[in-house]
Symmetry: C2
């Protein structure tokens, strides 16, 4: 006998049971539906790209994590996000598009991260971006939280906060303090405040070489308290004479104004002045989203505004704003704390179970049910009735139709509600109505 | 200024316009819906697997085409089909599943084929398989054509034929002619008959070393004419004394019988005795599907029965039957001949177009429409009205709602039907009704 090879899956690669996959897919469908509700167009770019194209801008951590290899003579890489492929796409097909270009993409991306619980090397991102031609109105920045709100509501969540900030405010502050050159480093440190705490941030800023009074100002600034309007007022009162700061403050004011115009309830969004997002390419509004009861999960939907999407490929200025949901990690996290809210548990609405070998009528009943739009399984194997019923239980199919000699003769079939155990004898028409009403 | 990198996509990798992507996604959705209608459960396995696992069985052409590389110390490969990952999955999680296990998977697979028009290196396969535990009833073989019929009907096709055959019949014939050892080669040659013709097949069989009378018998056999019942009768009358042949004929008879029991119209399926499918692993029923008016496209949906899915991973016998649609290639082919039947052209049902800078009412109208389940875009940029209307045209959005000073004061908005050009002034309630009725 041939030696067997162990059937195993790579660590860091999610592979779900069918029951979990049903829920995962339902979440993905819900996100897709929500994105389409706002008029975002679908794109599907290749998983593999020329390394030269994909790594035009990458560096540091990202480049180390990349899956890169050659096939024949060609240097290839697997995409590590959906933003770079979007930049490539827009630059490549610019003339065939119409701007503002609103696209969504849901697909797998690859990062060879260190394997650890809840970290995935292959994971789904669900992205939307709006790309402008030379300009893009600030109203688009206000639209993003509205999409986030709608999406997480549809996913079944009620208690979450979308936090917004504007990087120009932070950058303006640093200018004002004469810390422009340290801005990127300072932002990266500030971004960690929830993880490492105030003191550790102050220490890291000190290690960076900042003076005490500058550290103090930064800490005071990111500690501004109050509701949205109070925060905006406090920022104004700081009286910082810096153009970038002023622009950022005005953008933040406008964003809040238009978010309200969209009708987003005020308690679902807030200003959080310490949000910076680590990535260098955000230049204006930034977003993070938190489940209020599970802040430890970190941001479940993030993004921001960037000045120039495709500068590595084209001279055309393409400003944009976008958000992303890392669905694989989110699903894992929510599953761990039993907070998956989607209701769908089964694919089939009903399973037809023939009691004996005379199965023709069962096949016809199944065909009839399907023609009425009812997802229908048929148990076709020769097995004891107990095993057949177990199959229905296993896949959480809500109804079973049992067809034996008596059912065939009377054309009254046994309908069993698998949750309550209740059984009735009904005509096919009544059965169809019962299942459809559910 | 930095040197720009050319934004280009790899040859053999499909990348669609948003307009085509909408149609592609609609086809994929339709296939998914059809598979679920029959109770198939979703799976999503990784694109990357251990090479050892993925190549347990591969060889020849497949192995040459594989995308294989190392990351760190690990030898990795991209999946080249969805069947091997299914085998791995079933062997790995066997104890947690319930049999028969019916799964569908829709995902990208990778083959480094020679680049040529209409051939893709990254392409979607849409697969269903039913896996039995030790045994699997022949009725499952009859279910496959029913799924194919339903799927292509839903995709908008009316004129197609699902051809079935049984490899045991062919293998039995070869046994009977003393050609058992040549069976695989003969099958491969016969499979090419539609491409290269009768004479070329006869010649190839001769080159294989077959005697004239054996070639004659094979050619006669695969030329049996008549309807399904006549063909079954002719096969019976050949009076071939071979157990495999007999078993195959009985399976084919049963398959036809149960296909009819499912209610599949007789003119949508046929027996084609020359179908063998190149792949070695089919052991019983085989399927091919043809658009009758476009036979040149080749089979648009194929598959078959196999004795043992996961023999490289487990001792457990897991017979199965499945079919696959190569959606990327099919989409390309249908698009070329203008035979994409899905109707969906736009994501948005309507675009709200503010006439001036006072956009708050437009945002509110959009929010209202979305809350009624209407996919709604808003044109937010500062532009001439002509440019705004062009945007609606470009993305084939069926309706535009135009909101200016007068509309704001009267709360009667201008609704423009973008196809007819017709404009009316209506309340928001009437507009919602008009759009929903469409």
């Amino acid at each position: 006998m041939q030696e067997k090879i162990e059937a195993k899956t790579l660590p860091g690669f999610m592979e779900l049971s069918p029951q979990d996959q049903i829920k995962f897919n339902e979440m993905m469908e819900t996100i897709k539906r929500s994105y389409e509700r706002f008029g975002f167009l679908p794109l599907d770019t290749p998983v593999i790209e020329y390394s030269e194209v994909l790594l035009a801008k990458a560096g540091g951590e990202t480049e180390k994590q990349i899956y890169r290899f050659t096939k024949g003579e060609t240097d290839l890489s697997l995409r590590f996000d959906l933003t770079v492929p979007l930049a490539k796409y827009v630059a490549e097909y610019e003339g065939a598009l119409s701007f503002p270009f609103k696209r969504y993409q849901i697909g797998k991306v690859y990062r060879g991260e260190k394997a650890q619980k809840g970290r995935y090397r292959e994971f789904y991102q669900c992205d939307i971006d709006i790309i402008g031609d030379e300009n893009l109105s600030i109203i688009n920045d206000a639209q993003m939280p509205v999409v986030i709100y709608n999406t997480f509501k549809e996913l079944g969540f009620d208690d979450f906060t979308i936090c917004i900030n504007n990087r120009k405010i932070l950058n303006g502050l640093f200018n004002n303090l004469g810390l422009t050159e340290n801005a990127a480093d300072i932002l990266r440190i500030i971004d960690k405040i929830d993880k490492i705490g105030t003191e550790a941030v102050a220490l890291e800023l000190k290690n960076l070489g900042l003076k005490e009074n500058n550290i103090k100002k930064i800490m005071e600034f990111i500690s501004i308290k109050g509701n949205k309007d109070e925060k905006l007022e406090s920022l104004d009162k700081l009286d910082i004479v810096d153009e970038t700061f002023k622009t950022g403050l005005q953008e933040l004011r406008d964003t809040v104004k238009y978010i309200r115009a969209f009708g987003l309830p005020d308690n679902y969004f807030d200003i959080d002045l310490k949000i910076a997002r680590g990535l260098d390419y955000y230049t204006g509004t930034v977003y993070e989203t938190f489940l209020n009861e599970y802040k430890k999960l970190g941001s479940i939907c993030s993004g921001g505004r960037y000045d120039n999407l495709a500068e590595y490929y084209t001279d055309k200025k393409l400003p944009g704003v976008g958000i992303s949901i890392g669905l694989t990690r989110l699903f894992y996290q929510l599953n761990e704390i039993n907070q998956i809210k989607v209701k769908k548990e089964a694919i089939s609405d009903v399973v037809v179970i023939p009691m004996d070998e005379d199965i023709e009528e069962s096949l016809q009943v199944a065909t009839k049910l399907r023609s009425c739009g009812i997802n229908t399984d048929v148990y076709l194997e020769d097995a004891k009735i107990k095993k057949k019923m177990k199959y229905a239980d296993k896949w959480q199919i809500p109804y079973a139709i049992i067809i034996g000699e008596e059912e065939r003769q009377t054309k009254m079939y046994t309908l069993k509600n698998m949750k309550t155990g209740e059984q009735v004898r009904e005509t096919i028409e009544k059965i169809i109505k019962t299942i459809k009403d559910e």
